[in-house]
Amino acid sequence: GAGVSQSPSNKVTEKGKDVELRCDPISGHTALYWYRQRLGQGLEFLIYFQGNSAPDKSGLPSDRFSAERTGESVSTLTIQRTQQEDSAVYLCASSPDRVKVYEQYFGPGTRLTVT
């Protein structure tokens, strides 16, 4: 079946511009996560959506970052007024349900380059 998909796969933007990254989770998965991965680094948690519960936004690095999810479908991560330090791969993952939340399925990521 279809896995997690993300778009665009690559994004180059100028400093100060806004960008929007999209994640399509696996159909039926209730949980959705966004992570940031800088070159050669591990995963940095950004935000977690679980069904209709309030999202865990504790990992968002600044108020320039925001994310939305409509129901249990698509999510968008928006970065306003991008800075060079925002350059990274942004990974999205989804999980089947609250019981099996440890089974995270990752998308291929969006590589963001801020010039």
Binding site: G42, Q50, L91, V101, Y102, E103, Q104
Partner: protein, 115 residues
């Protein structure tokens, strides 16, 4: 503060050698997972361990969960170049204040196996 500490951070070995990577914490986890990430792709789940003392084998890979559920190890026998990648451990924390369903990732061990 990193909840899960992985060591070593980098490991470079010759084909055929054995290796062990470690994932340690002062916190207790209800479950712990290992992922492998190859360049340009998202992490892929290798195994989940949930019981203290549990040992799981996946071909040449052996995963162990500590008795106290605070640490884990991954042992690879007769490493091959195809084992090259970033190995990440991740845990579902039982610590007060942690979010149900959220996984906490270590920074990863970058393994390179030379032919």
């Amino acid at each position: 503060t990193q909840l899960l500490e992985q060591s070593p951070q980098f490991l470079s070995i010759q084909e055929g050698e054995n290796l062990t990577v470690y994932c340690n914490s002062s916190s207790v986890f209800s479950s712990l997972q290992w992922y492998r990430q190859e360049p340009g792709e998202g992490p892929v789940l290798l195994v989940t361990v949930v019981t203290g003392g549990e040992v799981k084998k996946l071909k040449r890979l052996t995963f162990q969960f500590g008795d106290a559920r605070k640490d884990s190890s991954l042992h690879i026998t007769a490493a091959q170049p195809g084992d090259t990648g970033l190995y990440l451990c991740a845990g579902a924390s039982t610590r007060r204040g942690s979010t149900l369903g959220r996984l906490y990732f270590g920074r990863g061990t970058q393994l390179t196996v030379w032919p």
